[in-house]
């Protein structure tokens, strides 16, 4: 395995052998360690000293199902701290098959030049991108795949080009559709600052990485597949997708509604997983779909209009929550259109939805105004003044528009769980080095009373320290449905693939180290415990859905990582 190092100023590429202490780091762990080792924590996120890092998981490129997530990282312009944002699709898989553990992109281009990075068996080439700059993500990827063939593309849209802090990076799926987002943290802006429109991964001639202990691998893989296919949770995801969560979070008072003013949406049924399933079925779209080859979970879908034409793929819970109930919009068709526009402009739908929520709270447009919401997203695409304000995310947009109820932590928007309704996830939002991000430790699956403050700190700590196991290996976090109770099986897969002998302690230690590295980077970047707090209104304003405030004390929050 090797690491590619690209300098955007000198336009040079180096292929480096992996350092000994990086050998068994992958995904989020590798990003955290490189950030700590190489990136000045106080640097300007859009400046020459920040680096954009792509990292495959330790299982990346292998035949382990759902192990091809791509981790993208750097110092986040949104949080000002360490950021890893992982996405599905085939970018991670192909990069892993080519034998690259990661790509480190440094410095800034001279004279605002724009480039493509083309990776293949031959290495990495820097190509001109002028003809693609300015294009929406869908058109850019269509053209790139027309030119380069069946390649994976990781790409930004106009939002990233203009360095909007809500810009994500889009990754293509099995069908070449660019909608698997490494959405969070504004990494699209970092990519844009470096003048890169797209990373193209051509794995022609490369094969899946073979396990070093094939017999043990076969046994472990078989067991993993069995557990996955038997999992009730997987059956739910395969049928209803992540939209199945709408009614669940609504039932516990955690569905963000009208800029997080309540956790219950009276029209939730119109945007629920069951309604989505019925609608897609009646219109002959696809209710289930894999974002990467061999995925047994198949949580994705293809959402179509009344004529059966695709609006967007996939339509997922987070988008439905932040661009649906959070905006008082109860039409899946409108949410799907908003989602498509965000994908095309290269926007994180969570950040954009939260920004629209504060815009509505300010009275700039009314709650429930579907046409107004669509127009606001179009303004972001155009880069008008209001579009730029909203494109910078909920924290900046809220400040500009004079809104004190800004649902953000460390400058990043809270995702689809009102912290007063799902308090464990609230603890994660407050204390994760990632800023507000459910993927850093969501507790909605836990058998706990989500309204009670009891046990939430312990639960969040445990979840935050478990998630990096998946993030470091390139495993989709939904594999926890099968593997969560069987982490020894994860060890077995890793050991058989890599020919090592790790135990559960080693796997867990690396996950905890990942968090510690991120916390250290954040500390050196200037973060203090004052950054580990939820917005005040969650602690002061009662959530009418469950008659509760976020009542976990500052002192308790400060024990999460100590």
């Amino acid at each position: 395995m090797s690491i590619l190092r690209v300098n955007m100023s000198s336009l040079t590429v180096k292929k480096e052998q992996v350092k000994a202490d990086y050998e068994f780091l992958g995904g989020r762990a590798l990003i955290a360690k490189i950030l700590l080792d190489e990136v000045k924590p106080t640097c300007e996120p859009l400046g020459k000293h920040n680096k954009l890092i792509y990292a495959t998981g330790l299982l990346g490129g292998s035949n382990v199902y759902s192990s091809g997530r791509i981790s993208i990282g750097g110092k986040s312009p949104l949080t000002g701290g360490a950021k890893e944002s992982n996405g599905g699709g085939v970018v991670g898989l192909k990069l892993g098959r080519l034998g690259y553990k990661g790509i480190i992109i440094e410095d800034l281009p001279l004279n605002n030049q724009r480039f493509l990075l083309y990776v293949s068996k031959k290495g990495l080439e820097i190509l001109p991108a002028e003809e693609y700059w300015g294009l929406g993500v869908y058109e850019a990827v269509h053209k790139l795949r027309g030119k380069f063939g069946d390649v994976a593309v990781s790409c930004i849209g106009p939002a990233g080009e203009q360095c909007f802090f809500s810009a994500g990076i889009s990754n293509t799926d099995t069908l070449g559709v660019p909608s698997r987002y490494s959405g969070r943290g504004g990494l699209g802006a970092v990519m844009g600052s470096k003048g890169i429109k797209a990373l193209i991964v051509d794995d022609s001639g490369a094969e899946a990485k073979q396990p070093l202990q094939p017999e043990q691998f076969k046994v472990a893989l078989h067991e993993y597949a069995r557990l996955t296919l038997e999992s009730q949770q997987v059956k739910v995801f395969a049928k209803y997708g992540t939209a199945s969560l709408v009614e669940i979070t609504n039932a516990v008072g955690g569905l963000p509604t009208r800029n997080f003013s309540t956790g219950v949406f009276e029209k939730a049924e119109n945007i629920s997983g069951e309604t989505l399933y019925d609608l897609i079925t009646a219109r002959q779209g696809q209710t289930t779909h894999s974002c990467m080859p061999g995925c047994l979970i198949r949580c994705s879908n293809i959402y179509v209009d009344e004529l059966g034409d695709e609006i967007v793929s996939p339509l997922e819970y987070e988008t439905i929550a932040l661009m649906g109930s959070n905006l008082d919009i109860d039409s899946l068709d409108v949410i799907a259109q908003l989602n498509y526009l965000c994908n095309d402009y290269g926007l994180d739908t969570i950040e954009a939805g939260a920004a629209l929520g504060v815009a509505m709270a300010s009275g700039f447009i009314p709650f429930g105004d579907a046409e107004g919401a669509l127009n606001m997203v179009r303004e972001i695409g155009k880069g008008s003044l209001i579009g730029r304000v909203l494109g910078m995310g909920a924290e900046i947009a809220g400040k500009v528009l004079g809104v004190s109820r800004r649902p953000t932590v460390k400058g990043q928007a809270i995702s689809g769980y009102d912290p007063r309704g799902v308090k464990g996830t609230g603890v994660t939002y407050a204390t994760s080095p990632m800023g507000a991000d459910h993927t850093a430790g969501n507790t909605i699956r836990a058998q706990i009373n989500h309204r009670s403050s009891e046990g939430q700190v312990r639960l969040s700590r445990k979840t935050q320290n478990t998630i990096p196991i998946y993030d470091n290996l390139g495993l989709c976090m939904f594999t926890s449905a099968a593997l969560g109770a069987q982490l020894q099986l994860v060890c077995d897969l890793v050991n058989a693939q890599l020919g090592i002998e790790w135990d559960l302690d080693k796997l867990s230690k690396q996950a905890s180290d990942t968090i510690l590295w991120e916390l250290e980077f954040n500390r050196k970047a200037g973060m203090t415990i004052s950054h580990d707090r939820l917005p005040e209104f969650f602690c002061e304003e009662v959530n009418p859905a469950n008659n509760s405030v976020f009542d976990i004390s500052d002192e308790e929050l400060d024990t999460v990582h100590t």
Partner: protein, 81 residues
Amino acid sequence: MIMEAYVEVHLKLNLQEYKPNQGKQFTYKMLKAATVHDLINELNLPDEESLLIIINGLQASLETNLQKGDQVTLFPLIAGG
């Protein structure tokens, strides 16, 4: 004392598949004072530890005693998306 109680049961998402003849919601007659645990057992639903239980709009537990007229909504527990 033996108490007769009717509760309204809502089965969400794929839990409906365990009661295909009864639809998404139905009235259920409990033969004795019972807990949610008893109800789930009688309905033959799988893996009671993996259910989210809502009674009259608030989260409840397996040990919660059912009252006449309660609206019981059951979801499979799933990880967040």
